[in-house]
């Protein structure tokens, strides 16, 4: 084998390896960890940030209707327990920007991670996500004083939140029932 051939084959091999290494480096984390929440394309803003694993996802798919995913969901209803923490991922898989607006977001501290547009209004707050983006929210379900409290999340677009009833999701927050105490009394 000539030295030039050896050098050429080495260069070719190196290019292949470099491309493979590059592919590994450039694959966005949200593609690898499908349920890990926020996309990691904004590392300049928070290089230390690591998204928590979402308990529940709200996914707006092509066509615009939101879908709830997770063990605490049933159709269009998400059930929370007052005083307990929840990690909620908002995903926009539609072609246009989508908004996730709710009065609930004004009733408790919302910790967020990701990239979005924040919207504060008098009685509700929320986020607008660009196509392909994910925002992870972490909060404690608020106490209302009622056994059950209902809130809506409007998954709208173009500043017309909830124009279609199918764009609404219901969040039902329940007070924890004192099962242990009642069982004790019953004995």
């Amino acid at each position: 084998m000539k030295p030039t051939d050896t050098l050429l084959s080495a260069l070719l091999y190196a290019r292949v390896m470099a491309v493979m290494a590059g592919a590994i480096v450039f694959v966005p984390h949200d593609r690898i960890l499908a349920h890990d929440g926020a996309s990691d394309n904004h590392q300049g803003a928070h290089s230390s940030a690591k998204p928590a694993t979402a308990d529940v996802e709200i996914v707006v798919q092509e066509g615009g209707h939101p879908v709830l995913k997770g063990p605490q969901t049933h159709g269009q209803v998400l059930t929370l327990v007052a005083g307990e923490p929840i990690v909620l991922a908002l995903r926009n898989e539609d072609h246009g920007p989508r908004e996730f607006i709710s009065p609930l977001f004004t009733k408790t501290e919302i910790h967020f991670l990701g990239r979005a547009t924040g919207i504060f209004r008098k009685d509700a707050a929320g986020f607008r996500l660009s196509p392909g983006d994910t925002l992870t929210l972490q909060f404690t379900a608020p106490f209302s004083g009622f056994r059950r409290m209902y809130d809506l999340i409007w998954c709208g677009h173009d500043g017309k939140p909830g124009a279609d009833l199918q764009e609404l999701l219901i969040i039902m927050t329940e007070e924890k029932q004192p099962h242990a105490a009642s069982e004790t009394h019953g004995r």
């Binding site: 084959s9 190196a14 590392q43 290089s47 979005a116 607008r128």
Partner: protein, 160 residues
């Protein structure tokens, strides 16, 4: 000799190319801030941006009506700090990073934990007619009557 040389060359090329890619990604920002505010020692320090008003008591920046500003907020303190304003009830703001929403009757905004950096971009209202827009920390720059103290950042109208 060649069989030893080739893997070494390959290893070196892969390592250098990989590390270059990693560094390029770490430095990547999706926004270019007009202003960088470092929060520490109970004050907002403007480390990037054309300060408006040399005699201003607080860090300030000038903008025209409808103009856009991109801020980077870096909390270099050991405590969480807030960045709130009545302006955020009027305008939407784009953000990048990790923070907590702050929603009150008087002002809305973000709380940033120690060590975190958040990018914020928003437009001034079109009818911005000369009033000052103030941003402060509810934790350390609370309102005392009409006087703001401590951590305050001001956006002033641009003349001419």
């Amino acid at each position: 000799m060649h069989c030893c040389l080739v893997p070494l060359m390959v290893l070196a090329m892969v390592l250098t190319s990989g590390s270059r890619l990693a560094f390029a990604q770490a430095d990547e920002r999706e926004y270019e801030p007009d202003v960088i505010l470092v929060i520490k020692e109970k004050a907002f320090h403007m480390v990037k941006g054309n300060a408006s008003g040399q005699h201003s008591e607080h860090p300030a920046f000038s903008l025209s009506s409808g103009e856009e500003i991109t801020l980077e907020l870096r909390n270099e303190d050991t405590l969480p700090h807030e960045f709130v304003s009545p302006l955020f009830a009027k305008v939407e703001f784009q953000f990048w990073g990790r923070a907590t929403m702050v929603y009150t009757y008087t002002a809305n905004g973000l709380r940033i934990d120690p060590g975190e950096t958040v990018g914020l971009r928003f437009d001034l209202p079109k009818d911005f007619n000369g009033e000052l827009f103030k941003f402060w920390c509810n934790v350390h720059g609370k309102l005392h009557g009409d006087v703001l103290q401590g951590e305050i950042f001001v956006v002033k109208p641009k003349h001419g």
